[in-house]
């Protein structure tokens, strides 16, 4: 994972704006809890190989949650609205948005990526590539479509990295799926690379700026 701290920083930036009038300490805490919770699938790694970045990092979960949320908030006797009112509805949507982009999205572009469509398809996918304009026009290397010369079939390479059987994304809980004898080095990264520290600082900046900002005039 790019660390939970980095996920949280992006989530804060998103939540502060999207919560709007509902932005308070409790709402932020709920969003952050939703951001950190998926890392619990690292613990499942002991009983199910490749569980981390699979069970709670699948885009299927976001789609399901979005569907249920939409269905519940559109019907007349909405459970969420009845229990927590408009506040609850907003916090739930923002938490889902933050989870999908700040957590699943960033993990998609990190190391072996995420098991995107698990349990429908067991395939880790990692987003990596560039987009640029050169003399040859607009070039992107995220998804590579080519023709296999031996079979003559079209091949799509979107960064498929393996399945739950072959991929183990290291976590502090389970640094390696095949532990060495001797002392285990458990690493809790806070930030790796300039950009992660940047994202972290930006999240803190938004929190601070929001605090010092004058209250919104209603226009």
């Amino acid at each position: 994972m790019p660390t939970s701290v980095v996920h949280s920083a992006v989530a804060v930036v998103l939540a502060v704006g999207l919560l709007g009038a509902y932005a308070d300490r409790r709402a932020l805490a709920v969003v952050l809890a939703v951001i950190i919770a998926p890392e619990l699938d690292a613990v499942l790694g002991f009983v199910m190989p490749g569980a981390h970045r699979t069970v709670l990092h699948t885009a299927v979960l976001s789609a399901l949650a979005g569907g249920v949320l939409y269905w519940d908030t559109r019907r007349s006797g909405s459970w969420l609205r009845g229990r927590w009112g408009a506040y609850g509805v907003r916090v739930a949507w923002v938490a889902l948005f933050a989870h999908t982009f700040a957590h699943i999205g960033l993990d998609w572009a990190h190391l072996d990526g995420i098991n995107f469509l698990w349990p429908l398809v067991d395939q880790f996918v990692a987003l990596d590539g560039e987009l640029y304009v050169s003399g040859e026009g607009l070039i992107q290397t995220f998804v590579d479509v080519s023709i296999d010369p031996t079979t003559g079939r079209g091949v799509v390479d979107a960064g498929q990295s393996g399945t739950t059987a072959s991929v183990h994304v290291s976590t502090p809980v389970q640094p390696s799926s095949d532990p060495d004898p001797g002392p285990v080095d458990r690493r809790f990264p806070i930030a790796v690379g300039g950009w992660q520290l940047y994202v972290l600082c930006t999240g803190l900046f938004v929190l601070l700026a929001r605090r010092f900002q004058s209250s919104d005039h209603q226009s």
């Binding site: 930036v13 982009f101 572009a109 560039e130 640029y132 809790f188 950009w195 005039h217 226009s219």
Partner: protein, 236 residues
């Protein structure tokens, strides 16, 4: 600048202050599109009720503006990531806005554009500094932060990891000889920041996105704008 001796016990032997591999990070400068995406995200977060298409455009332009110093580099070699990336631009602008809005009888900004104008000015300034300058400061190409007082580029690159075996591993800042040292790829004379205006050996290309995480940030910004618009409609 002292403190770059490779004495840090946790530093890999391969990491050095070479221009193209600064503290283990390949040479890269986040493209303008990514600056704009971060600027838009900050705009969504901080504009509040001043959020609309016009204010968001101002903020996006503020995020892209520092990168315009590539054009200056055609006349003044070494201007890239220096002339408009200096901390003095937002600092001076902040002093002006602060003076105008608090220490003058009839604030020009407020009389022209009202409360929204003041909000947009502050957010635009913050975006110029954070999304425009900041993102380049945290990349290995670096930013000449104190230009023109100093023509040295600074880069905040490294890592911060807690390890059960090695304790706190921190390579962003070097502590040595009483100095707090940031990595530096050189000065405006020795360090050439390549861009599509002044390409190096690699040929001319306008980079839009250079890695996976940047693509995710751009996608997130693209999704956050309609989300914010929807949310605002519900708030009214």
């Amino acid at each position: 600048m002292s403190g770059f001796g490779d004495t840090h016990p946790n530093r890999k032997a391969s990491t050095c202050t070479h221009v193209y591999y600064l503290r283990g990070e390949p040479s890269a400068m986040p493209p303008t599109l990514v600056s704009v995406a971060v600027g838009v995200l900050l705009g969504v977060a901080l504009l509040g009720t001043a959020f609309d298409r016009r204010s968001l455009t101002v903020v996006a332009v503020a995020a892209a503006l520092p990168d315009a110093d590539v054009f200056v580099s055609l006349l003044l070699p070494g201007a890239t990531n220096a002339v408009f990336h200096t901390a003095f631009v937002p600092a001076v602008a902040a002093v002006f806005v602060y003076y105008d809005t608090t220490h003058r009888e009839g604030s020009w900004l407020r009389s022209q554009y009202g409360w929204r104008g003041v909000r947009i000015a502050w957010v635009g300034l913050a975006v110029y500094a954070v999304a425009g300058i900041g993102i380049d400061l945290f990349s290995s190409e670096g930013v000449a932060l104190w230009y023109p007082l100093s023509d040295r580029y600074y880069a905040v690159v490294g890592k911060l990891v807690l390890s059960t075996q090695e304790g706190v591993v921190q390579t962003y800042i070097e502590f040595g000889d009483g100095w707090l040292g940031l990595a530096s790829p050189g000065t405006t004379e020795s360090h050439h920041v390549e861009s599509w205006v002044t390409p190096g050996d690699g040929g001319r290309r306008l980079q839009l996105i250079e890695s996976g995480w940047q693509a995710v940030i751009v996608l997130t910004a693209a999704a956050a704008v309609p989300a914010k618009t929807l949310v605002d409609r519900g708030d009214r």
